[in-house]
Amino acid sequence: MTGPAIATRASARTFLRDAVLAGPVVVLLAVLVAVPLGLLAFRSLIGVEGPTLAGWDRLADSPILLPLLGKSLRLATVVTVATCILAWPAGWAISRTASRHRPVLLGLVVVPYLTSYLLLIYAVLVLIAPGGPMMSALGALGLADARSSFLYTPRATTVMLVYEHLPIMIIVLAAASERIPDRLLEAARSLGAGRLAVLRRVVLPLTVPSLAAGFALVFVPVAGSFVEAQILGGPDGLLFGNVIADQVTRVNDPMMAAVLSLTLLTAVLIVLGLLQALRRSVGTFVRARRHGGPVRSGRTRVLAG
């Protein structure tokens, strides 16, 4: 056999190996992740009678759609920040428990997250329903009327979304806090840092990267949520996601579905980009501090070297 023939056979074998091992996943990702985005862009610009900007014009001219997008993004921000605030103490506390208890606690935290979220929506619906357990308890305490409830108002959607995403945020923050060793805090304290200074100068800078990841993990699904608002939010609770879903399931308008999907995706990507930029600038800031910062650079360098 000649040299080139062997080389051809070898490359054919490599090709076969690549096709068998990687082919299915690569094709799936291309056809069901990359192509859909291209196709949405195409559908948003091509109508029945050829190329048109009609869909985008409708978005720009509508008095409802863009304000609704703003509402969805604001809600996603509020939910994410609330989730952070609620999750942080628990995440920190779990990271400081004995390491043999930690898997059990994290396993418990994740139970609601891995349960079907439609069941969670149903559970919250039952809990806060007028005359339901929570309102009855509040009524018995004289804090609220047992037969009234905030179910079927936008606030129910907010509460549901926070509840739903609390577990993932706790896990992210517990993982981040785990990486901050106790001796670092002791060192800061022994150098005279007060509680607030330890939090601001040690804990916060070391948690920011994970916080950004947690932010993205909650913000993205909340910005695209629609079932929670549909079931719990009542008539005033509609979100941008509901309008998108309705274009497919009720109105059957592929062009508007594409225009609105791309609008939401762009908005989400812009927010994630800003987040990344923020994270980077905080990172640079922390690194500058670590290497001495502008004020005491000389002294620190002496100490470090």
């Binding site: 690549d18 996943v25 859909p36 103490p89 994290l106 139970v111 891995l114 069941l119 998108i244």
Partner: protein
């Protein structure tokens, strides 16, 4: 003095954890409790009954929907284990340069809101002339589960000591035999863990099923979606309790297989561990 403050700190920590877990489990606990309550409208006084469980098994629609969900999730988990593991092996052993591209694709599948991904996939299937169908749901579920499968197996493969495989080869094992007898047993728990994760994600993936399932054919999340809008249903309480129980069993299994759910979420969620320390 300092002993007192550290005791106080432990107490604060415990209270925080108990309160948060209480908050997380309050709605679920109410449902579990109500599933054993005789009242059709969920009212007190509490009176024990197993009636809703027997009614649940007598109801054809919920039973069929549950079976459909289990079938779909099992199929997705098997397919995801097979192609997810082979692509991970390919990325680590044969073509590490392809890692950034494939990771970007997988991360997009978790970063793009499923609402948009679902509508995009529906558009593709409609263009292909397939439309809403069981195969569309299967492929869509597969794409949304694969990231977890691949990242879990990749992490295990990277942690594997290559000298083990070399040792097997130097002792006379063929490349295939070394893979089968050394590598496969070492990564099998990660593969299984990834498959369980794929099962859970598919079992609960309402959005993809909402857009890709044929009209009238309902999986469990779609069935619950239809029922929930009509209000309180005692037999859904019974069903929720069973699903909750299954979830707990699954989490215990995941803990055993991949050392905790936090590890299965972290590779997708958090900053990459290899970049975390510099």
């Amino acid at each position: 003095m300092s002993a007192v403050t550290s005791q106080g700190r432990v107490l604060v920590r415990r209270t925080t954890i108990v309160l948060t877990l209480g908050l997380l489990f309050l709605p679920l606990a109410v449902i579990v409790l109500l599933s054993f309550n005789a009242s059709r409208y969920g009212t007190l006084p509490f009176e024990f009954t197993l009636r809703w469980y027997t009614e649940l098994f007598g109801r054809g629609d919920l039973f069929v929907a549950t079976r459909r969900s289990i079938l779909l999730s099992t199929g997705t988990a098997l397919a995801s284990a097979l192609i997810g593991t082979s692509v991970s092996v390919w990325l680590v052993r044969h073509r590490p340069r392809a890692l950034p591209v494939v990771s970007a694709g997988l991360l997009s599948a978790v970063t793009i809101p499923w609402l948009i991904l679902g509508i995009g996939m529906l558009t593709v299937f409609q263009t292909l002339g397939i439309g809403r169908s069981t195969s569309a749901v299967f492929l869509g579920s597969l794409v949304t589960s694969l990231p977890y499968q691949v990242f879990i197996v990749l992490a295990r493969l990277r942690a594997l000591d290559p000298s083990l495989e070399e040792a097997a080869r130097s002792l006379g094992a063929s490349a295939l035999r070394a893979q089968a007898r050394v590598v496969v047993p070492l990564i099998s728990s990660a593969v299984l863990g990834g498959a369980l994760m794929a099962f859970t994600i598919t079992f609960n993936n309402f959005v993809i099923q909402y857009f890709l399932m044929p009209f009238g054919v309902r999986t469990l999340p779609l069935e619950i979606y239809t029922l929930v809008r009509t209000g309180y249903k005692p037999d859904i309480n019974a069903l929720s309790t069973l699903v909750l129980l299954a979830t707990v069993v699954l989490i215990v299994a995941l803990q055993r297989l991949v050392g905790g759910v936090q590890r299965t979420v972290r590779p997708v969620a958090g900053p990459r561990p290899d970049r975390g320390r510099d």
